[in-house]
């Protein structure tokens, strides 16, 4: 490896970094070191996520073998935990592209340390979300019916349906996120390639596409990267808007509301940022990234959560206000029932986790305490899952006709598949962290002062 000769006497621009200048070579070495032999703790984490995944796989097999009866969804609650999980994971996938695209366009400095891991989280969260429409189908081998292509079945997508919009929105989001993610990785993979050997070198060589950092490559890379960010930014906002229309377009009590798109987008950013904190805190400890990902980043994420928590609290309040102000008895009944009926536990847990639990973060002391950050972020994740459960299940279980009211609770199959989805997500994320740079080497280098001969001569 080339030596890091960039000692300039200039303080590093990375807040929280050691009180001495970082160098390009040092940055490379620190982040490359993560790819060395995994520790026992890493294997323990991987074994846990794989076990969770196997539990979910076994439950899915049961569902395929015995049929959809093993899941708790039945009339009138035809959308249950699978759709809750779908919306939850799509929401988790929001923070990555928000951090990598929107914060890139506004030149936010704190994104640098966390954006690669957040992007990876986006891709894996959307991969997880995409499992659920297939799981929900029951006959998962007919999932290809989702896609519009000429066929002899006299079936065609109804493009006026929000469900068709959702297929396009999520597929587009997944494709664009993957391309954006891969493009950002190319220079870093090239860096890894140049410090590896044998089969590993061949693997990275292929993925690096012959990148060698020539001016021609950088010129068009930077040109393209800006456009990816510009294209991804409206996409981030549109995806959860379209997901919210899955509900808001239906004339169902508690769903049919124009506040849903901003409410869902804020909720998605809220849960995504909380998940970034929940994932990156242990990873930073496990992989010793403290120089590059530190409290400054987590505090910034906590501030994002505070902002979006405020928006959500406003949205929750506004739903109740509109139900009262509209004088619509069905709307009033569903909102009253949510807070006082069989699912009131989920409702109040949602209110506590999303509106109350983040409030201590207004204190800088708590916002910069790692344990407090981790616990509150975990509570937010629970609260956001409960929010989706509350919206989806309660409205269906307590619809217009009292004769159809039903108390839905997920069965062991649905709970196991939910656990399995977390395992699937975690396994991908852990494998990624040991295979690719989960901290963006090139962008960290951009924050390091360049090595200057002038200052050395002055010394």
């Amino acid at each position: 490896m080339g030596s890091g000769t960039g000692l300039t006497g200039v303080e590093s621009k990375l807040p929280g970094a050691p009180n001495r200048p970082l160098t390009y070579g040092e940055t490379n070495r620190d982040i490359l070191r993560v790819l060395l032999k995994p520790s026992a703790m890493y294997f323990a984490a991987l074994a846990t996520t794989v076990t969770m995944m196997l539990i979910g796989g076994w439950a899915w097999f049961q569902q395929i073998f015995w049929g959809m009866g093993v899941a708790g969804i039945t009339h009138p609650t035809m959308w249950g935990v699978y759709i809750v999980d779908f919306v939850f994971w799509v929401g988790i996938g929001h923070a990555g592209t928000l951090i990598s695209a929107i914060l890139f366009l506004v030149r936010s400095r704190w994104r640098t340390g966390v954006y690669r891991a957040s992007e990876a989280m986006t891709v894996f969260a959307v991969m997880t979300a995409l499992l659920f429409p297939v799981l929900h189908l029951g006959r998962c081998w007919q999932a290809y019916w989702f896609f519009p292509y000429p066929n002899q079945r006299l079936l065609w997508l109804n493009f006026k349906s929000p469900l068709a919009w959702d297929v396009f929105a999520i597929s587009t989001y997944f494709c664009v996120s993957c391309v954006f993610f891969y493009v950002g990785l190319i220079p870093d993979i090239a860096s890894f390639r140049d410090h590896s050997k044998g089969l590993v070198k061949k693997f990275y060589s292929l993925l690096a596409l012959g990148w060698h950092g020539t001016s021609r490559q950088w010129q068009h890379y930077m040109g393209a990267y800006g456009f990816f960010a510009a294209l991804a930014a409206p996409l981030v906002l549109s995806v959860h808007t379209v997901v919210s229309w899955d509900f808001a377009m239906a004339p169902t009590g508690g769903w049919h509301s124009t506040i849903f798109p901003p409410y869902f987008v804020a909720g998605a950013i809220f849960s995504g940022c909380a998940m970034v904190i929940s994932l990156l805190m242990p990873m930073t400890y496990l992989f010793k990234w403290e120089k590059y990902v530190n409290l400054w980043h987590f505090e910034s994420l906590a501030k994002m959560c505070l902002l979006t928590s405020g928006i959500l609290t406003y949205a929750y309040g506004m739903e109740y206000f509109i139900a009262w102000y509209s004088q619509n008895p069905y709307e009033q009944a569903i909102f009253f029932w949510r807070a006082t009926g069989e699912y009131s536990g989920a409702f109040w847990l949602m209110v506590f986790c999303n509106c109350v639990a983040p409030l201590p973060w207004y204190s800088k002391k708590i916002r910069t305490n790692p344990m407090a950050l981790f616990i509150i972020a975990a509570l937010i994740n629970v609260g956001m899952w409960m929010e989706r459960f509350n919206i989806i299940v309660s409205s269906l279980a307590h619809n217009f006709d009292p004769a159809t009211w039903w108390f839905y609770m997920p069965t062991w199959v649905e709970i196991s598949i939910t656990i399995g989805s977390a395992g699937w997500f975690g396994t991908w994320f852990l494998l990624f962290c040991k295979t690719f740079p989960a901290v963006a080497v090139t962008e960290i280098k951009e924050m390091v002062p360049p090595p200057l001969k002038g200052s050395l001569e002055a010394k």
Partner: protein, 190 residues
């Protein structure tokens, strides 16, 4: 002179810089001396470097984005409209057969998707990727680590001394020519 004859009288020259200001000085001196046809490499995209080489000219990748986006939007409109025109029984809620408002969602998604894919294709084409067949002097592993480089892959032999003098004078850490330009770092990491 045929290309083969020109190659016979050309030489590869590589300068490695550990300092960014020295590297920019080297690029500047070469340009002032009228030399072109050199390639520079860097481990990160410093705007000073791109400014020095491209003098503010934007990448043509933006045209790929535009064409991709327009193609996507048109495709979205055609896919939705022609589908519903062919299957008019799909007409929920009394909407017209070709209903622009609901179709706008699909058109938007197609605009973004095609725009992003076209941007990626444009980057690949203009950046010369895959770059597996770049000159071996450009494949110096130090250039993706911590060093900057200026490489003449085919400098005229009669300019060799002058170029090497300029590069050495600008503060290059190492200037080599001919086959000496190939450098292998020890594989000490993976």
């Amino acid at each position: 002179m045929s290309p083969a004859a020109a190659a016979a009288h050309s030489v590869r020259i590589k300068a490695v810089y550990n300092h960014f200001d020295a590297f920019l000085t080297g690029v500047d001196r070469l340009k002032r001396a009228g030399f072109t046809g050199f390639e520079v490499t860097a481990p990160l995209p410093r705007h000073e470097l791109l400014e020095a080489i491209y003098e503010g000219r934007p990448s043509p990748v933006r045209w790929w984005t535009l064409v991709g986006g327009v193609t996507g939007m048109t495709s979205g409109l055609l896919l939705t409209s022609l589908t519903h025109a062919s299957w008019p029984m799909i007409n929920p809620g009394g909407k017209p057969t070709v209903a622009i408002v609901p179709f706008a969602v699909i058109m938007f998604e197609c605009t973004i998707l095609f725009g992003a894919l076209a941007t990626f294709a444009g980057m690949i084409v203009h950046a010369g990727l895959p770059g597996f067949f770049l000159d071996k002097a450009l494949k110096d592993p130090r250039f993706t680590d911590a060093s900057f480089g200026i490489v003449f892959t085919r400098a005229s032999e009669r300019d060799q001394d002058r170029i090497m003098e300029l590069l050495n004078g600008s503060g290059a850490t190492e200037v080599t020519s001919g086959d000496d330009t190939v450098y292998e770092v020890p594989n000490d990491t993976l």
